[in-house]
Symmetry: C2
Subunit: 341 residues, 2 copies
């Protein structure tokens, strides 16, 4: 069987139905001013040929848009972001739009290339979890009339719609809960401060310490681990200290999972009882958190809703006739859930 690469065009449908291309076009756009029986003939031809209207050809015509939304995410494989993507996809699908998904791997250059590519494909808008602190490529998109919505992280110097979490408040509340639970030596594992959420969550952590009159011990702070493995190493270092922390604040799920894995391994080795290990506070809930071998609390939130909200911000702007009004900065609430275990 040879793969006949033939996608029928409107002309072929017209020929087969014995009408002009315009009649086909009209029929496919709702059938206004086309006799019912002619419509039937057209639709029959469409079905027989398996015709699909070429949206790309359609979109180059004035007034028409591509129905595409460019989504750039730092790491699709992270359940947090994939759930976010699901939220975006669902909301976009409600308006018949599709998403063009790209993974940036937390790499600014890749984000640049991706945005550029998306613009070439004439996306109507961009939803970005920025890997780059550099606003130029996104500003360029806006200048072309392609709105940008930032999700999870903001970019300094870019006036764009955004939806982020209550990072500072969440980290603050979580840390206060630890302190009020009796902890005075609290470790910190999180992203580098170069990243928006890393900075804000760290700030909330520090603010809580100050508020309770605890001094910040730099040797307890690891602002850097990105992967579970790196988090394990950082945890190992904390546990090796002569005076280890009695609790660890983990600024995201990668770090919390790394900490738990390391603690679990060490408990399994049997050197010290489980109670000798630090308790965990995790910014991000995650599956099986309740199996932690040490007490764990989470600062929970809803990535799917984050995605939906980002999409709605964008769609609102796309549907707005004029400039769509001032930028909107949304902060989604988080929920402290103590001692899942």
């Amino acid at each position: 069987m040879t793969a006949r690469s033939h996608r029928p065009t409107i002309k072929e449908v017209a020929l087969r139905a014995g009408v002009s291309p315009m009649t086909v076009s009209r029929t496919l756009s709702g059938g206004l001013n086309v006799k019912p029986d002619v419509q039937e003939r057209v639709l029959a031809a469409v079905a027989e040929l398996g015709y699909h209207r070429n949206e790309n050809a359609r979109s180059i015509r004035p007034g028409h848009s591509s129905g595409l939304i460019g989504v750039a995410i730092t790491n699709i494989a992270n359940p947090y972001y994939s759930t976010f993507a699901l939220g975006v996809e669902e909301e976009a699908a409600l308006t018949g739009r599709r998403i063009l998904l790209g993974n940036t791997s937390e790499d600014a250059a890749r984000e640049n290339a991706l945005v550029s590519d998306f613009l070439g494909r004439r996306v109507e808008g961009l939803i970005v979890v920025p890997a780059s602190a550099e606003p130029d490529h996104l500003a360029a998109s806006q200048k072309q009339g392609v709105p940008v919505v930032l999700a999870s992280r903001r970019v300094e110097g870019l006036d764009a719609d955004s939806v982020v979490l209550a990072d500072d408040e969440g980290a603050h509340r979580g840390t206060i809960a630890l302190i009020d639970g009796g902890h005075t030596r609290i470790g910190y594992l999180g992203n580098t401060l170069a990243i928006f959420t890393g900075r804000r969550r760290h700030a909330g952590f520090v603010r809580a310490l100050e508020e309770r009159g605890l001094r910040l011990d730099a040797s307890l702070v690891a602002a850097g681990p990105q992967t579970v493995e790196q988090a394990r190493e950082a945890t190992r270092a904390l546990l090796r200290m002569k005076n280890p922390p009695t609790a660890i604040f983990c600024a995201n799920n990668r770090n919390a999972i790394g900490a738990i894995k390391e603690i679990s391994t060490q408990i399994g080795a049997g050197l010290k009882p489980a109670t000798a290990y630090p308790e965990i506070m995790s910014f991000d809930d995650f599956e099986l958190a309740e199996l932690s071998p040490v007490p764990i609390s989470v600062i929970d939130h809803d990535p799917r809703e984050l995605g939906r909200t980002a999409a709605r911000l964008l769609l609102d702007r796309l549907d707005a006739d004029g400039d769509g009004g001032p930028m909107r900065e949304i902060e989604l609430p988080v929920e402290l859930r103590t001692h899942l275990r």
Copy 2:
């Protein structure tokens, strides 16, 4: 600030650079037969205007294609499938192609609509984790010269490239390991047999029982649970039996996680010691599996590689001049990893 929705065209670049559109086009396509200084002028104009070649306009011209791959997945939020999507994205990006991602929610109608939409957008090919047992819409795609690659599941009656796991063999080996570990009453939690993987994994399970001379006890088999919550309920039912299983074979991560959660909860309630609960065999590894409160083994595999392989199958066919040869059916190996815990 008004959102000037102006995307510059090749004409405007030409005007600004003082050349014809063709010279711009040539410059952007590699610059063959364009004087270096002219190229510079063109590129300067491109940069100043923030011009991006309109790929949609480009793709309607004969010979050119969209550079788009349609990916339809049953559930993006499932870490297994999001990692799969990452693999597809990476491999597609290597050839400059992008993915159009759609979620089917295990819904055949949605899959139909999605495929139809993808064809309208002139995707070069389709990568599908089929939610539907019905081959017609996918066959239609092939007939138009848009190749289809099935991933994880095959569709009966559809002659398409596919990459799936060694479901039967994996389930068989896992079950044999349980039996040889002394278990004679083994529970089963998995997808409905209407789903390809559900059917195959169940078959491997049954085959192992037969091989070892154990009879299949229907009351121990739950072929249906799709979500963690449903899996918990099914587990609860198994544990309530007068003669409960001493091991449970879980045909996917949703079911394994549900089982573990339920067992963990019951152990926490303190009615029976942990050793009184069934051990787990999970088809699919998952994060924190090693924290299971009961011994657990997994049939591991690599969803990212599954994605990469699916993409490569598709790209091979796209790059092939002729019909690309016979369909290829790949079965990726799985690895039994016993007693992570």
